[in-house]
């Protein structure tokens, strides 16, 4: 079978907001992907995923865009996915915040959320994953986490924080440096 050459990736650039995250940034265009992974039909306690993206000079990146994909398993084991998207340019401190419910384990894996990161200065979108610090036992048995060198595994684990009776999981992304986030080849 003939193989076609893959189209090259290019940077998302700095000016994506009026298309990809129009509602969040206050542009006069609708958004079909929002900052929430859940709708009213999904039960469970709401949690917030929050964090910042740091560059190689440890500066917060204020013009990146993050997508989360979460998987939901039905009673008959059908898996569906939902996507949410946030830019880091509308909060004062460059943080992002998503609303969801804590994911349940799917197919024997520890609970996780898939992450895609795009920004000016990155010629490719980057894939990583959020795992949850309070899932110690399941994390220990997770095949993907175990395939990662132990000293870098922590870059994928979000810490649980409680503020004003709300549950936050903090997930910071480091593009470079000592605690550089692990990115996956897809």
């Amino acid at each position: 079978m003939e193989t076609f050459n893959q189209t090259p990736s290019q940077t998302v650039g700095p000016f994506f907001a009026y298309s990809l995250t129009a509602k969040q940034y206050g542009y006069n265009y609708n958004s079909i992907i929002t900052d929430s992974l859940v709708n009213d039909s999904i039960e469970g306690e709401r949690i917030f995923i929050t964090g910042k993206i740091f560059d190689g000079e440890n500066k917060v990146i204020p013009d990146a865009i993050i997508e989360l994909v979460q998987y939901f398993e039905s009673e008959n084991q059908d898996v569906t996915s939902k996507i949410a998207r946030v830019g880091t340019g509308t909060s004062e401190d460059g943080s992002f915040i998503f609303t969801t419910v804590k994911p349940k384990p799917i197919k024997g894996q520890a609970p996780f959320i898939s992450v895609v990161i795009m920004m000016r200065g990155s010629l490719h979108h980057l894939h990583t994953r959020i795992y949850f610090a309070d899932e110690t036992e399941k994390n220990k048995e997770d095949l993907l986490l175990n395939s990662i060198p132990e000293d870098r595994r922590n870059s994928l684990i979000a810490n649980r924080l409680q503020k004003n009776n709300q549950i936050f999981y903090e997930f910071n992304i480091r593009m470079q440096g000592e605690n550089e986030t692990i990115f996956f080849k897809i």
Binding site: Q6, N28, L123, H125, I148
Partner: protein, 224 residues
Amino acid sequence: MESTQAPFLYPEYKSTIFRSPTQPLMIVKDHLKDLTLPVFGESHIQKFDNDLTKNAQINGEPIGERIKVFGKLMDENGRGIPNALIEIWQANSAGRYIHKAEIHDAPLDPNFLGAGRLLTDNQGLYQFYTIKPGAYPWGNHFNAWRPNHIHFSIMGHQIEHRLITQMYFPGDPLFEYDPIYQSVPQHARHLMVSKFSIDKTDPEFALAYEFNIVLNGKLKSNFE
């Protein structure tokens, strides 16, 4: 087959220096297989989402050269990827983005936003109308200008079917000076350049440019 992709670090594009990973990407493919992306439907698309000449009109038509962009979204075997979400954004005909942080001294067009979206059809084909974007200056180096381009964000149904890219126009004199374009290996740069099509040009209405897009990997059979 030789890679068609840019490196992560391309120092001539200065922002990559502190924003690109320094460690090799981890190969975890076996653990990621079968991961899907959500399906979007016609209910997510508004009437003029695929016509940027109409979706932001306030008191008239946007200024500039009206064009039609069309093509096929496919996997590496050339099979069309149906029902994929394509989101687009671009500068106006004067080379000005509507983005609030953009300060280039060129006029905004009250009748042009520069954003749109569409779904590919059951053959993986797509088409939209827009205004040909202008070139604009940026701060990468002295006298730096971006070639005319339209940004594409593409989301198929599998985790590997995600692509962010830019579509260029044939024969742009700025190609040789643009480090974002040049970051891609020379043999693959033509894959980002649309082709003018007289056959698909709408007589007395709009020139047509063809831009076919090939995603990473193969389409799984349940999406055929």
